[in-house]
Amino acid sequence: MSEMPPTMNITEQKIEPRANGSLRAYLRSIAAIVWKDLAAEFRSRELIGAMLVFAALVIVVFNFALELDIRTRETVTSGVLWVTFAFAGTLGLNRSMAIEKDRGCLDGLLLAPVDRSAIYFGKAIGNLFFMLIVEAIILPMYSVLYNVNLFQPGLIFVILLGSIGYTAVGTLLASMAVQARTRDVLLPILLFPVLIPLLLAAVKASNGFLQGFEIAEIMPWVNIMIAYDVIFIAVAFMVFDFVVEE
């Protein structure tokens, strides 16, 4: 140790205490961004309001589009639910990123001494919260309107997994779409092809839980969802820098 030049010693000494501090600072910046989104939304309620109304309308439209008699209802419920969530979700994602861009919040965030990935996680978790709140309202609404019990732990678990994957990819793609000219139409076009494995697995897993299939039959789908979530959170984390840099 005594042969090492003094500068290296100092750097080594500095890194140790900073490592713990920077992790806490990182988590705090994520929390700050989430809190900002939740607080802003709590005051205006524009995002959740729009998503809710849209989701309710979609459910009503489905009633006429599909003959939801008692028997078909059971097999079709999971599909209807996920289509509803997927479409309402794009509304929320679009609006959430558009607010950042239009009000210059994104520029402010980029100027802050915060790791870019913290911005990604902050936005993604905020979007996840909005989506979960909407789903939490849609589930009882659907249960009442169609007289089917949707409050099963398995289903709730699948909805949570699916929403995580959805917002992980959606936040990344929405950050890109919002910077293009055709911003509103572009997000669904970008998002849905990439989302297919997650949506398919989510519908199958939800259906499995609702109809009381064996756990062994449902597990492949849950595994796909978990794999999808992990892979795409990692990918988004790695490339988000390139999406927001000026």
Partner: protein
């Protein structure tokens, strides 16, 4: 790239000649399949087109990654050229597949994993092109394209896997026969020759088209540059 390089002229002629030979091999030389008859010959160009589509997609994702790492514009040019070629060949793949399916499976379409994955891949390509079209700044366009091509490329095997599991757990839909039974065939040696020759032909075609498209892109950029200079002076 001012004058057309000699190598490109040679490549043009070579690809043209190889393609003519391929046509002969596929349409005349290859043996007629015992059960399906001549319609089976669609298979050679159908798979080759699909192969080029997948190759183009892979190339786009890879050069996208390189662009993100290096920031050099030539990689983005390759990505753009590759996507355009890929869109066309993936479309040819889907259409020729339908043409083959109609007499064999008695349906234009079936929700088989490979068909659905091919369609989704095509949709991701088209989404890529729409994304690029909507962005003015060239550097941002290149970056977003790279990001989306990587995200899209990773999703394709996941899509295939999930649909594959979907088909194993649930039986094939009513209306179309089991694809594994009708339409599957073992290739004789002659057929294998024809098959690999078509793959080779289409790969050569891909490289030729890519080179041409790259030169076109460079020229288009030069024109833009001169326009801007003329406007500002």
């Amino acid at each position: 790239m001012e004058h057309k390089p000699k190598a490109l002229t040679v490549l043009n002629w070579l690809t043209g000649a190889v393609f003519v030979v391929a046509l002969y091999i596929v349409l005349i030389w290859a043996p007629q399949e015992a059960i399906m008859g001549d319609v089976q010959r669609v298979f050679y160009f159908h798979v080759s087109a699909g192969w080029v589509g997948a190759l183009a997609f892979l190339v786009t994702a890879i050069v996208g990654g390189i662009y993100l790492a290096r920031g050099e514009q030539r990689w983005d040019r390759v990505a753009q050229a590759s996507v355009e070629i890929g869109v066309v060949f993936a479309f040819i793949n889907i259409v020729t597949g339908s043409i083959w399916a109609r007499p064999i499976w008695n349906t234009w379409w079936t929700w088989d994993p490979r068909l659905v994955t091919a369609t989704i891949m095509e949709l991701i390509y088209i989404a890529y092109m729409m994304l690029r079209r909507g962005i003015e700044d060239p550097d941002r366009r290149a970056r977003f394209g790279a990001v989306y091509s990587i995200v899209g490329f990773i999703s394709v095997p996941l899509t295939f896997l999930s649909i594959r599991i979907f088909r194993t757990i649930h039986p094939i839909v009513v209306g179309s026969s089991d694809p594994a039974a009708l339409g599957a065939f073992d290739m004789t040696v002659d057929m294998r020759v024809a098959f690999f020759f078509s793959l080779f032909t289409f790969t050569l075609l891909y490289i030729t088209l890519l080179w041409h498209r790259l030169r076109l892109q460079v020229k288009m950029e030069k024109i833009e540059e001169r326009k801007l200079r003329a406007l500002s002076s």
